[in-house]
Subunit: 408 residues, 2 copies
């Protein structure tokens, strides 16, 4: 056989297997309670509606559903998505929408179309791991921007943009997850959003808005979408049906200026020709029958209770006065736990596994290699009982660590 | 807005919109008969089986179908695909199989994992346009290898491999479509296959076997799969459900050494995380219920009649003694027409459109910019009546061209 290692491309050498994936393999033990996934709850799938609609689609439109479709996506779905976007203050037509096979594909296509090796990208600290992976493949260099409970810190963003400009770097975009961020759970305030759009215009840089969780707001008022604030055409919005409908259909979409959409479509053509027509028509019909709003309400009700349960369990079990903190997110799937600086969640992972509880180490979301004292906890997938028991196991693990640290 | 053109990546500048796509836009006229597509016939879709199976899958396995799945593909489908491969003399396990969202994605992933900019790739003259596009994105340089009605000419392949070796080039793979090739319709003989595997071992180079049409053999004996001949692990096989089941489900697969499959999986993770579980379970159940063989027989019966109709129409309408030739393919979707050297099918395209018949210009399949006197004709999609009328229109177009040429 040929020597594979000497034949792999630079692109493939850039992207390693996900650290999460390797760690998750350890969590396949009986009785393990895992907060490590990012999966929607199976109770949240509208299975009966999908079954009814799938039958209808195959009865009425099999010749479209089972055939190749336009790379941009079926007009039926793009029009429905445009209506959906209007409800979010984003006024666009079908020509501004590209249907993708998941929002991960959206990120990959954005990376493919804009990133050249060594191009600096501005990202939140922490940010979505799948985004970092998609952009790493194209050779991006990440500039981490400090973030707090109101989103990316604009003074730090501006200072970094200014430095990049002064050093004549060709920065391509600012990557953001402004709603119930994965992993931090943070939602950007309207003020930060306004300022980000202003900076994108002043510094001539695209703003990528990756919002898979935006619809999953349990309480409070939704801030404006970046796309709705922007008047220049500098915002590219990535959304998905995975969290509000079903990930198993692999459907997402990109909203952007029509020239950008055209360029992304050419890229999509060479990576997979088109997205499943069957799945697109199922989603289009679900939207057309106006089933989404009620369904999202149902998901929100399920997840709100779970988020509350996790928040309560953390209050109940976590040791007090040791500098452990978390923010109760107003939506989404994740809660981010901060430990005292000295407590290393990467190191502690195996001890947690011993106690049969799993989390994702926070450091993988930090492009600067930091965040060892943080972890991401998913509350959408486990049951209420698992949340209570799992957090109590996690608290025990942390307490033992603290005792060990104090002994040193 | 930012200046897009100054922000697009090198990758995106490499890949232009498909020439076919632009030409196809011209064919959207009433009464147009198009031989330009590459679509399976809608009559060939097993719609009722899919409807029954989809209902069953959602009833029994919604929690898998609608959820995220393993990047490698569901074990249910990989095991069924392994059984399918065994029938073709390819003895592999699930660990040798990666489920992809179409064979176009398979080609993209192979390109991503192996090609660095300027790497030479050896391809047939002509070869599949989608392959050229996928590999172009990664900066491949194409070395065209002469081909005849028995496949790639091995003397030319060896001479080109030797030259590349002498000039210390890092050639990465030989890309082949050895069964009912798109566009030429040619199937490689067993002798050529044996020799290709031998050369791949001698020159330490991967052999990519892209065989979307292999199951669609109307007559004659199937030669051995390259994978079945190879003992070294140098062959990567790309297959698809698009031509034997339904393209609208976007399902293909790659067979290869387990290390290659693992590397391709890491790449797939960053481009779309996983393939639709719903669609995978539908295909798995279709295979499990043993419905594929009979279904393929049905498709073959439909396409054989259409191929015969096109061959007959060509005999009937094409001018004799002018050097027009074609080979009646033993399977697949395409028939390749060769015109006299002086007749330029690119130029003639608009005249054909005037006469309301469309084809794909052969030059787009030639990496060396030649083949202006060739065209690809699809016989799977048009009806028998359309085939007869369309070929008569095409013959008229050609006759007029010949008259014009003789007048000069």
């Amino acid at each position: 056989m040929i020597d594979l290692i000497k034949n792999y491309s630079i692109t493939s050498r850039r992207v390693k297997g996900s650290a999460i994936r390797e760690l998750l393999k350890l969590t396949n033990k009986p009785d393990m309670i895992s907060f490590a996934g990012g999966l929607p709850s199976p109770e949240s799938f509208p299975t009966e509606s999908i079954a009814e609609i799938a039958a209808k689609v195959l009865k009425d439109k099999a010749h479209i559903a089972l055939q190749y479709t336009e790379t941009e996506g079926l007009i039926e779905l793009r029009e429905q998505v445009a209506i959906l976007m209007k409800k979010d203050g984003i006024h666009v037509g079908a020509e501004n929408i590209l249907i993708t096979a998941s929002s991960q594909q959206a990120l990959d296509l954005v990376g493919r179309v804009f990133i050249d090796p060594t191009d600096p990208l501005l990202v939140e600290l922490p940010t979505y791991l799948g985004g970092l992976q998609a952009f790493t493949a194209y050779g991006a260099r990440f500039i981490g921007v400090a973030s707090d409970n109101q989103g990316m810190i604009m003074e730090d963003l501006e200072s970094k943009l200014r430095k990049l400009q002064l050093s004549e770097e060709h920065y391509k975009f600012i990557y953001t997850v402004p709603d119930f961020q994965n992993p931090s759970g943070v939602t950007w305030t309207n003020e930060r959003r306004q300022k980000a759009v202003e900076l994108s215009n002043r510094y001539n840089v695209l703003l990528i808005d990756d919002s898979p969780y935006r619809e999953l707001r349990f309480e409070g008022k939704r801030p404006d979408a970046l796309h709705a604030i922007d008047k220049e055409g500098n915002v590219i919005t990535c959304r998905t049906f995975s969290k509000i409908f079903a990930p198993g259909l692999r459907l997402g979409w990109i909203v952007g200026h029509k020239n950008i959409i055209a360029k992304l479509s050419v890229a999509k053509q060479s990576v997979d020709l088109c997205t499943s027509g069957f799945n697109q028509l199922i989603a289009a019909e679900f939207l057309k029958q106006n089933l989404l709003d009620n369904h999202v309400k149902k998901i929100i009700d399920i997840y709100r209770v779970k988020r509350d349960a996790m928040d309560r369990a953390l209050e109940k079990y976590m040791p007090k006065g040791e500098g452990i903190s978390w923010m109760k997110p107003e939506g989404g799937l994740f809660l981010f736990l901060k430990l005292p600086e000295l407590l290393d969640a990467d190191d502690m992972f195996h001890e947690a596994i011993e106690k049969k509880v799993a989390y994702v180490i926070g450091s993988v979301f930090h492009c600067d290699g930091k965040g060892q004292n943080t972890m991401r906890l998913n509350f959408s997938y486990p049951t209420l009982e698992q949340i209570d028991i799992g957090i109590s196991r996690l608290a025990d693990t942390i307490k033992e660590r603290i005792v060990k640290l104090k002994r040193r």
